[in-house]
Symmetry: C2
Subunit: 427 residues, 2 copies
Amino acid sequence: MALIVQKYGGSSVRDTERIKKVAEHIVATRKAGHDVVVVVSAMGGTTDELLGLAQEVTAAPTPRELDMLLTSGERVSNALVAMAIQALDGAACSLTGSQAGVFTNAAHGRARITDMDPGRVRQELDRGAIVLVAGFQGVNRETGDVTTLGRGGSDTTAIALAAALKADTCEIYTDVDGVYTADPRIVPDAGRLDHITYETMQELAACGARVLAPRSVEYARRHGVPVHVRSSYHSRPGTMVCAAREVPAAERPSITGVAHDESGAKITVTGLPDRPAHAARVFRAVTDAGAELDMAVQNASHPADGRTELSFLVPADRCLSVLAALRGQHAEIGFEDICLDQHIGKVSLVGTGMRAQPGVLATFCETLAAAGVNIDIISTSGIRISAVCRAAQLGDAVRALHTAFGLGTPEAPAMVSAEGEEVRART
Amino acid sequence: MALIVQKYGGSSVRDTERIKKVAEHIVATRKAGHDVVVVVSAMGGTTDELLGLAQEVTAAPTPRELDMLLTSGERVSNALVAMAIQALDGAACSLTGSQAGVFTNAAHGRARITDMDPGRVRQELDRGAIVLVAGFQGVNRETGDVTTLGRGGSDTTAIALAAALKADTCEIYTDVDGVYTADPRIVPDAGRLDHITYETMQELAACGARVLAPRSVEYARRHGVPVHVRSSYHSRPGTMVCAAREVPAAERPSITGVAHDESGAKITVTGLPDRPAHAARVFRAVTDAGAELDMAVQNASHPADGRTELSFLVPADRCLSVLAALRGQHAEIGFEDICLDQHIGKVSLVGTGMRAQPGVLATFCETLAAAGVNIDIISTSGIRISAVCRAAQLGDAVRALHTAFGLGTPEAPAMVSAEGEEVRART
């Protein structure tokens, strides 16, 4: 008998028909002899409706009240799933994040879990019940206030519960059937991965792969929780996210996949004095405006005036407040002008084996050049190369890289694995 | 500076426009220099929508999960009102029933408040905030489970907070402008009462007056909370519900008002052995089926067979389950047949002065007879006379009694007050 944590996203519970299907699946898991803890997101569309109500009331709702508002959505879906399970004669009990012992810091809207105390969950499991836990939400121990965990928060709730309960596995049910080498809507021959390491999954997620939020993967990695990403529409296995040592040797590719992201906008600050303090002031202003920076690059300063140019990406939905913040500190920062470019995309190649393969960066650039894609900014980490290009060329860039690195072909070329062994990737 | 608790019903916050109006009114109260605690019901229609979802999932949702589901409605409305106040530059903080320290027993769906610990409310008031508290909900201290207080629960929340905080007044904002001598839709010359005693209000509420739930009035009486029932559409004073000694002498009428109730159904059990144990079995079966009994009356037994007939009212929406329960215990109870009559109504005359006026019951019966209304069952308490009649005659009965007891005329006849003094009522 195993202990299984299952998480269902908003589209899996978007109406009461789907809720009844989910309940059947949960009851079947219980009847197979397992202890089951379930995390359910708000019914699809609920969060947008609630945000719409908030916008009707005020253009700038406070994060604390927004959290109070939004957390109602998961109460509804979890209570309905519990009722549907009870209607199938299963014992069930729904708990709020607070009741389930999900404690967070006080950062409303993007809280981090500080500790887990799943005593009540354990108690309900011990009396034979299926336990439903409202995802995405927690409580701050000091204030008693309700918090939310930000994007992908329900994944984090599920993984944190799995860690705290030492569950055998955490199943993330979604509307795709696993993690792919690229987005199949863009790359028709993209392949589903049977296994992926936490590290690689985290990079793919950070680079725009939407199947799991980066923060939840980080949590799984830190606590060694085996995560199974699978479809809520059929019972075939999906993708296991696990430690590198648990990935079968034959599945340890040098390059794992291509991710893309269209959610950024590029800001360029020109005529900036080329002294460290000035770039720091820009970064501070951006951070204070609530935006995360990405792909920052500074040009060599112009010999004539010692001034330089700083470019970076911010989330497109924050770019106007970032611009306002920068313009408000024009004098202190001391720049000449700011340009905004909203028509950009970012393509990223991810794989742990990249470290061992010096030619990857060259191949990456040659491939994009051959595809006619102009690189605007390029940045590399140990297991990732990312490039900013025109948004209109993003699909071409993804397809070209996917093919060039042999990700889509059933007979992938021989590559050096992360451990330096020569393996045949993905066969 | 006073401490005022305000309660707004679902129709007062049915959309975001009304929510903004309510916020303006709250902020105006705060700007007048008062500390303000606000209890808001779920937005009009929300509770029915949530019940509809539950019904789609199962015909018999468990009370615990139903409470988890329904309490989401008040979180939404309270958070939205808090945001609307903040948009007007008011400091505001919304709290769940649990955060506000509303502790109840474990009777899901009809929980009773066991104790109040409004420390967090006091703390937020001390820092100058307007405090919003989700009505209708509490938490059980032993289990940590969310509970609801049943019909009129938000009134009870407001009154309980007013009692615990020793507030100067509890204002109940509603879509009528006070308590009337009868329902103005039925009796055109019904008059608004400036004052009414807890005792009388409780009887009127129990007899069908919908402006306040009986349980909330009982709570106010027990804790001596002055309750001001008033309109959310204008600022004119409404009706003060208070202790008898606080009602001005000139406003101490012998008879206060006429209430009516169409929500009951009459059940008659025939051929019942005329021994106490048998009636008791009937009452136990009805109570176990979750229905409250009212107006029970037993006929003298028939000399031939020693059998009798027992009639009583139950809420119409419970009558089918009561019938099923009784039929299921046919043999144990030992009756011959059951009749159900759903076309009945109940009219009640209420007033504390009734005790001192021996002729009231006779006048009551003569009035109904003269109006052609046949009395089916009659029952009296110290301050109330109730009669069951045909539903179709209920309006006639209310109007006839209202006129006969001089409730609607500006020059009411001299009557003996509750204290035995002769006063001119309601002039």
